[in-house]
């Protein structure tokens, strides 16, 4: 039994490594992506400077913290697949062509298989597309990055949880292909929602009133707003950190659970043709 569990863990590790390597081969695309994230970072940074000049302390951030928000966002955007990308189109395509039947026959759980592959992809993009924009931003602007290694460690845990939440949501989109023949409309809507509600356009702490409270409680907050706040020490103390990470873990569990239910319903729908 234990032997089998170890075999499983090893399998998912190999799948994750495959995901990492697969994206590592797109060298030019990665460099192009870094360039784009950096350009966007500069544009957004200037608009935030104008905004925070006008309203110092907006959303509970000083200007350095607001700029940190910009550059950390640009660094996490590809890893979290916040503006699209990732695997959901691939599942949809496999459902459409029927290749999903092969996936179902693998001696592995469908959800865990895709989670492992997506974590591999995210790990590559965190390193490949995350580091350079943040360094570029910190060279040109004054950022509020912490010196405390524990804070960075907490940030990494928070980023990982955010990536799992992002995966779990996109897995639901992928599975919808069992019911909808063409997923492009749904994917686009999902991207819209993700850009707006993750805090990529504007930190969620700037959203006013009850609407602001609502957006900060939704799962998209777990993908960007919470990790950035953890890095900047907005959730101070052990209690604060536990609350922030617990919020993310809660959404991860709920969404993965819904994914399992949907997966069970979807696999019952599969009709394998031919022999």
């Amino acid at each position: 039994m234990r032997h089998q569990a170890r075999g499983r863990a090893l399998l998912y590790l190999v799948v994750a490594a495959g995901g990492f390597r697969r994206y590592a081969t797109y060298g030019t695309a990665t460099v192009a992506g870094v360039f784009t994230n950096t350009v966007f970072g500069f544009i957004v940074a200037y608009t935030y400077i104008a905004l925070w000049d006008e309203r110092p302390g907006l959303g509970g951030y000083d200007q350095a913290q607001a700029l940190t928000f910009v550059w950390v966002s640009q660094s996490l955007l590809a890893a979290g697949a916040l503006i699209g990308g990732g695997f959901q189109e691939e599942i949809q395509e496999r459902v459409r062509t029927g290749a999903i039947a092969v996936d179902l026959y693998r001696p592995a759980d469908l959800q865990m298989w895709w989670l492992a592959a997506d974590m591999g992809r995210a790990a590559f993009q965190l390193v490949g597309r995350g580091v350079v924009p943040l360094v570029a931003g910190s060279l040109v602007f004054t950022l509020a990055l912490p010196d405390d290694p524990v804070r960075w460690l907490l940030f990494l845990v928070s980023v990982t949880l955010g990536l799992v939440v992002s995966f779990a949501l996109r897995y639901l989109l992928g599975l919808l292909a069992f019911w909808l023949m063409d997923g492009s409309g749904i994917n686009l809507m999902a991207t819209v929602v993700s850009i707006f509600f993750s805090g990529m356009l504007l930190p969620l702490t700037v959203f006013p009133g009850g609407f602001g409270e609502l957006v900060r409680a939704l799962p998209w907050a777990a993908m960007l707003q919470v990790p950035v706040d953890v890095l900047m020490g907005k959730h101070a103390g052990a209690g604060g950190a536990a609350e922030a990470l617990g919020f993310q873990a809660g959404w991860a569990l709920v969404l993965l659970g819904v994914g399992r239910l949907l997966q069970a319903a979807a696999t019952r729908k599969v009709v394998v043709q031919g022999g």
Binding site: A29, A50, E54, G183, G185, M189, F196
Partner: protein, 294 residues
């Protein structure tokens, strides 16, 4: 194909120069015709999944509208940004959104060229009797992108009604000219970006940083950005002509770089001027193409 051959024949009778002209005109006609046929095919195919089309057209409008909601939220905290009011920024936002939407609708899929070079499917396009650029531009033509155009025009209409502008015939004329010329400038950037991918491989994102990134910048007033950046987008990649310079004139505000007022009207010329190097780069790109052989 046959039509082209006939044109060539007719041209030959009139000597080599005439043949060249006729062939060239033939190619443009062929390109536009081919583009139209491919576009019609993709529209028919899109309409097979009508619900999905409506959802994605709506999503496309919403994706940019949420941008504007973010600006709106900013203005719930401030009265001016970079010295500009919300309706003034809405003018910038709406015009650049409509221009980019138009360019994206007509030419946006040129950024897929990198993927086509990588998987070798560009080869199929080279042997077809339609200019490659027309094929690449019409490839997977997405009618849903009309959503962004309509959304941009909607915000623009609101801006125009909310603004307190002393409208002259020149200013009224300048608004549609700004949209169309802006679309042409973005289109030229897209073609140049596609040509760059022959050199660099899959670098669609670089193109995006000039088009989408450019539009994100142009929806804010130029006063927000540094002078060096302004010089760059005025004289190097002339994005400032997409909407900043015409819109500043409409709003009666001076250009931060101190350019004279008449530059507001030169956007169409600038669009023409940037299409020349872009199309030359495209031709050089196609000529330099070596198939992956896969």
């Amino acid at each position: 194909m046959a039509e082209g051959a006939v044109l060539v024949e007719r041209g030959r009778e009139r000597g080599p120069e005439a043949a060249e002209v006729v062939v060239r005109r033939g190619r443009v006609v062929e390109g536009v015709r081919g583009y139209g046929l491919i576009v019609a095919m993709w529209i028919r195919s899109t309409m097979t999944y009508r619900t999905s089309f409506l959802l994605s057209a709506f999503g496309n409008a919403a994706i940019t509208l949420l941008d504007f909601v973010a600006i709106y939220i900013m203005f719930s905290h401030v009265d001016v940004l970079g010295g500009f009011t919300l309706p003034e920024i809405a003018l910038l936002y709406g015009s650049c959104s409509a221009s980019l939407g138009l360019a994206d609708l007509l030419l946006g899929n040129t950024d897929r060229i990198g993927a086509r070079i990588r998987d070798g499917s560009l080869d199929t396009m080279l042997v077809r009797p339609v200019p490659v650029l027309a094929q690449v531009a019409a490839d997977r033509f997405a009618l849903r992108r009309l959503g962004r155009v309509l959304q941009g025009l909607g915000v623009l209409a609101w801006a125009v009604s909310a603004l307190d502008v002393d409208w002259t015939p020149g200013k009224v004329l300048l608004v549609p000219v700004m949209i169309v010329a802006g679309a042409a400038i973005f289109g030229a950037v897209m073609v140049a970006g596609a040509a760059f991918q022959f050199l660099a491989g899959d670098a669609a994102e670089v193109q995006n940083s000039f088009t989408y990134g450019g539009c994100t910048m142009l929806q804010y007033p130029p006063t927000v950005f540094g002078k060096d950046l302004l010089r760059g987008v005025t004289f190097v990649v002339p994005l400032a002509f997409v909407n900043w310079l015409p819109a500043l004139y409409v709003l009666g505000r001076p250009d931060p770089l101190g350019l004279p007022g008449w530059v507001a009207y030169v956007s169409p010329l600038v669009a023409f001027a940037v299409f020349l190097p872009a199309s030359l780069a495209w031709r050089a790109g196609v000529r330099s193409y070596r198939s992956t052989g896969s």
